[in-house]
């Protein structure tokens, strides 16, 4: 009984401690951002590995999600003779939800896991300690550029996802299902609002990018420096990152679209 209680207390303390470490870590990394601006080359090479290398999966996923949305939406809307609304359905679902959320999930899987593994291995091979020995702060030199690259890349990736999804939906709706082209675009333009829908989608994707990258770099930095520890940290990044995206999405949706 007492042992169980002790275990529970230890777990709770461990979680609180880890949360605290995570926030201190975040503060330390953010404080390195101003120093990063004159050396933006560091961020650019990270944008390549975080953004450009995620581009393919994001583009293909966006295209297919848009195509499937159009196909499935058509079967429901055709019963009501409202197939012209297909454009609205595809665009609103993509811009409001699927772009940021599915983009965020893919981002956690593709870029987040790579970040964790990279930083975790740097720690395991004591590259981070070596930097500290040379009086280089690894949080500023290694983690901050990756963090900034993640925050910058995510909204762009989500926008590409949504735009390609709309194009995919357009091909299926107009090309395959014979929806009127003019009605497809005009209904979409009439119903999708620049601030209410698109800007809120962009804000969502920035938040997701921040949280997923934060989790990814912290898991890597906080990993147990063994091969097992790094593998567990990588798994944690994907699982926690995805859960954070889904949970935050619900909160943000409730706040944004009332």
């Amino acid at each position: 009984m007492l042992n169980q209680l002790q275990k529970l207390g230890a777990t709770t303390l461990g979680i609180a401690e880890r949360l605290g470490r995570g926030h201190l870590f975040l503060w330390h990394v953010l404080s390195g951002f101003p120093a990063l601006l004159p050396r933006f080359g560091l961020v650019i090479s990270q944008l390549y590995s975080v953004g450009v290398l995620s581009l393919l999966i994001i583009a293909v996923a966006g295209l297919f999600v848009g195509m499937v949305l159009a196909l499935q939406g058509y079967y429901t809307l055709v019963d009501f003779g409202a197939t012209e609304s297909l454009g609205v359905l595809v665009a609103l679902s993509l811009v409001r939800e699927l772009g940021p959320v599915v983009g965020g999930l893919l981002f956690a899987g593709r870029a987040g896991s790579a970040l964790t593994a990279e930083i975790g291995l740097m720690k395991a091979t004591e590259q981070l300690s070596a930097m500290e020995m040379m009086a280089v702060d690894p949080l500023h030199r290694v983690v901050a550029p990756r963090f900034m690259a993640g925050i910058l890349a995510m909204p762009l990736l989500a926008a590409i996802f949504s735009a390609l999804g709309v194009i995919g939906g357009y091909f299926v709706a107009v090309g395959l299902l014979g929806v009127d082209e003019g009605a497809f675009w005009s209904q979409m333009q009439a119903k999708v609002d620049l601030y209410e829908d698109i800007l809120n989608g962009v804000i969502k994707s920035i938040v997701f990018g921040f949280v997923v990258t934060w989790i990814a770099v912290f898991e890597g930095y906080d990993a147990v420096p063994t091969s097992e520890g790094v593998s567990r940290a990588t798994t944690n990044t994907v699982v926690h990152g995805s859960l954070a995206v889904l949970g935050l999405d619900f909160i943000l949706t409730a706040l944004m679209f009332d």
Partner: protein
């Protein structure tokens, strides 16, 4: 350094693609054109019942969108709805005694205000009030009236 050059080119491409996607979303997908045409003059009208009319619903004349509903209020004295219409400034020759009716696009579609030209010399301008208004048709009322009239016949 060749490597860093290709990396930079790729990142540049990535940023351009992202910006292009954002631009396409805001220009092609959203109603950004509706924001640029927001300049116009405001006209009010009193309606007994506005049904499902909403702010930003279209105002049409001969089926062409000439403006949008700017705001909807409630008049405490007459218990009527006060609807403010924002009409684009290029349509400055709509006769003052034009009538406004609330119609439904299709049987179940969204509601909009249709203006029908009157015969007055003066045109609608900022602050004008529409005198002739026709309320929204509430489907339940019509069905109710139809049922009553059927019952009377028997």
């Amino acid at each position: 350094m060749m490597h860093s050059r290709t990396v930079q080119i790729w990142v540049g491409l990535f940023v351009v693609a992202g910006m292009a996607a954002l631009l396409m979303l805001s220009m092609k997908v959203s109603n950004i054109s509706a924001f640029t045409e927001s300049e116009g003059f405001k006209v009010t009208g009193y309606f007994e019942n506005i049904g499902g009319l909403k702010v930003r619903s279209p105002v049409t004349m001969a089926g062409v969108v000439v403006g949008r509903v700017a705001s909807i209020g409630f008049d405490r004295e007459s218990y009527e709805a006060v609807v403010t219409l924002n009409i684009q400034s290029e349509y400055d020759n709509i006769p003052e005694d034009s009538s406004a009716s609330i119609f439904t696009a299709g049987l179940l579609g969204e509601q909009y205000i249709a203006l029908e030209a009157g015969g007055a010399e003066d045109a609608l301008k900022e602050g004008s009030e529409l005198q002739l208004t026709q309320s929204a048709i509430v489907l339940e009322q019509i069905i109710g009236q139809f049922l009553v009239s059927q019952a009377d016949k028997e």
